[in-house]
Chain length 306, copies 2
C-alpha cells in the first residue's frame, strides 16, 4: 500500500504562526521540503497581506517554485499548489502560471462567516466562479472542507450536513476533497462513523483527510481512516501551525510523526524522515520556537526503530 | 464498554523527571489524583534513594495513602500500589501495610541488564521470591513487562520472545501483566500483530497496555488495542516522565489525552478530565517545566467538543 502526504506547512502551518517569515526564508523552506520525497507541497495563499501578513509574496514563491521545476532543479513528480479564496486571488494566481490551486470552505456556518467572511452558500458561489477560471486555464483544483468534525463556535458538526458539501465540491470539479478536523476534536469512533456514512456516496480515491493534533488524536484518526482505505493525508512539518490557544486552526499533525507511523506500518510514502527532522530543526530556529512534533525529539537512532 | 486507567505519573512519571519533588508535594499530588475518579494510582517505588532519588520516601507516601483510605478521605474504590524490584524492597513495602505491589521486568536482555542490573532469567528468580512473600502476606501483584516492542539497545524485539515472558509472569501469580512500549516505537500494525499472536495464549482480561508517546503513536496504539478488547491502559498525567532525549523510558502517554479519546469514543472511564487538566497545570509549576500532553493546551471548552 502507498500513501500520499500533502505538505501544508508552508501555508496552513506558517499562516497560523505569530512570526511572519520573509520570502527568502520561505523559499529556502520550500526548496528543502522539495528534496525530501514529498510529492505535493502547498507553497502559499493568494490572500490579502493586510489580513494574512504571513502569506505575503506567495505569488513570488509560486513563480520561484515553477521556475525551479522548469530548470529541473526539482523532480518532475513534485507538485506545487496555493490556496485561492476568491476570483481576485485567482486572477493573481493566474499571473504566476500556477498549475494547481486549492479552494477552502467550511462545514459550519459560524466558522465560514468568521473565517472566510461569508455563508456556506455564498462560499460555493465564489467556488463556482473560481472553478470556471480554473477550467478555462486548465488548472487542477483541490478542495478543503474544514470543521467537518467540530466547530469552535458551534461544537459538534453533524456528518449528515457535511456529506452534501463534499459531494457539491466534487461536482464543482475538484479532483480531491480534503476533509478537515480543523480544531482537532475527532476521535476514531467519530472518524469511523463519518467514513462509514460517506462510503458509497463519493469515491474514496477522491478523499483526503486533514487531521489536527490539538488533543493528540490525529494519528489514531489516521489509523482509523487507513482502515477505510483513505490514501491521502495532509500534514505540516514539525506540527507547524499555530498557537494551540487560538480558536480555529491549531495543532497541525506533524509530517514526521505521520511518516513515522506510516513507514512503521509498512506503508510506503517515499519520504525521507531524517530530512524532515533536519528541516524541522532549521525552521524552529527561524521561528525561534520549538515545534510540537514527537519524532526527532527522541535520542534514539531511527534506523533501529522503524 | 468500560476501560480502566492506571495512573503511573507519581511513579513512572516522577522517577523520570530531572527535578525530584519533596514528599509533601508528592503527597499533595497523589491526593489530587485520588479525587479525579482514577481507580488505580501507583504512588512510588521501593528502590534505593541513592539510585532513584525521585522515589525517596515512597514508604511514607504508601502509609499516608493507606491512612487516607482508612479514614475514608479517599473512596474505597481507589487502589494504591508501589513498585517493588526485589526482596529487600518487598521487606520495606511490607512494613507499610501495603495491599498491592508491582514487579518490573524487561523483554530484552540488554535493557534488563542496564535497567534492573540482571539478566531476564535472574529477574524471574527475583520475582519468584517477591511473589512468595506477596502470597504469604495476601498482597496483590501487578506485572510490568517493558521493552515489549523495541529496545533502546537492541532495536526491534521479536514478539515470539515476549509471549513466554507474559505467560511466565501470569504463572507466577500476577493478576495482570502490563505490556510496555517503553521507548515508544510501536505502530498499530505492530500492536495488531502482537495482540493477534497473543490471543488464545493468555486471557486478555489479564492484559494491560502501557504505551509511550515518544513518537506520537500512543493513542493510535491504544485504539488498535481497543479493537482487540484490551480494557486496561497505563498513563501518566501531563505525559509526566522524562526528558525525551534520554535513552530508555521517555514520553509517557498523557492521562488526559487518553481519557479524552476514550470518552470521545463513548467509552466510560469515570475520570473527570477537567480535574486532570488542573492537576497538570499544578504539577507543571512544581516541576517548573511545561508538560507535553495535548488536552488542556487548547482554549476550547471541552464540554462542547467531547
Amino acid at each position: 500500500m502507498k500513501v500520499k502526504v500533502v505538505e501544508v506547512g508552508a501555508r496552513d502551518g506558517l499562516q497560523n504562526e505569530d512570526t511572519p517569515l520573509d520570502i527568502k526564508t520561505r523559499w529556502q523552506f520550500i526548496q528543502k521540503l522539495s528534496n525530501t520525497g514529498l510529492q505535493h507541497i502547498e507553497v502559499g495563499a493568494f490572500v490579502s497581506p493586510k489580513w494574512v501578513p504571513q502569506m505575503a509574496g506567495s505569488d513570488k514563491l509560486v513563480k520561484k517554485a515553477l521556475k525551479a521545476k522548469a530548470d529541473h532543479k526539482v523532480k518532475d513528480s513534485v507538485k506545487y499548489s496555493a490556496l485561492v479564496p476568491n476570483v481576485r486571488g485567482m486572477e493573481d494566481a493566474l499571473k504566476t502560471g500556477i498549475k494547481e490551486i486549492a479552494i477552502f470552505g467550511a462545514s459550519s456556518e459560524s466558522f465560514s462567516k468568521k473565517n472566510i467572511n461569508c455563508s456556506i452558500a455564498e462560499s460555493f458561489d465564489r467556488f463556482e466562479k473560481v472553478m470556471k477560471l480554473a477550467k478555462k486555464n486548465k488548472i487542477r483544483v483541490r478542495g478543503y472542507l474544514s470543521t467537518a468534525f467540530g466547530c469552535p463556535y458551534e461544537g459538534k458538526v453533524k456528518r449528515q450536513k457535511v456529506y452534501p458539501l463534499i459531494q457539491k465540491m466534487l461536482e464543482l470539479g475538484v479532483y480531491e476533497v480534503s476533509i478537515g478536523d480543523t480544531i482537532g476534536v475527532a476521535t476514531p469512533k467519530q472518524v469511523n462513523a463519518f467514513l462509514e456514512g460517506l462510503q458509497g456516496k463519493v469515491d474514496f480515491k477522491k478523499v483526503a483527510m486533514h487531521f489536527h493534533d490539538t488533543r493528540g488524536t490525529a494519528l489514531a484518526n489516521v489509523y482509523a481512516s487507513l482502515n477505510y482505505g483513505i490514501k491521502t493525508y495532509d500534514s505540516s512539518i514539525g506540527g507547524l501551525g499555530g498557537c494551540p490557544y487560538a480558536l480555529g486552526a491549531s495543532g497541525n499533525l506533524a509530517t514526521e510523526d505521520l511518516i513515522y507511523m506510516l513507514e512503521g506500518m509498512g506503508i510506503k510514502t517515499g519520504v525521507d524522515i531524517q530530512s524532515l527532522i533536519e528541516i524541522k530543526r532549521w525552521i524552529e530556529k527561524k521561528l525561534d520556537r520549538s515545534l510540537p512534533s514527537h519524532v526527532g525529539r527522541s535520542g534514539l537512532p531511527l534506523k533501529d526503530t522503524i
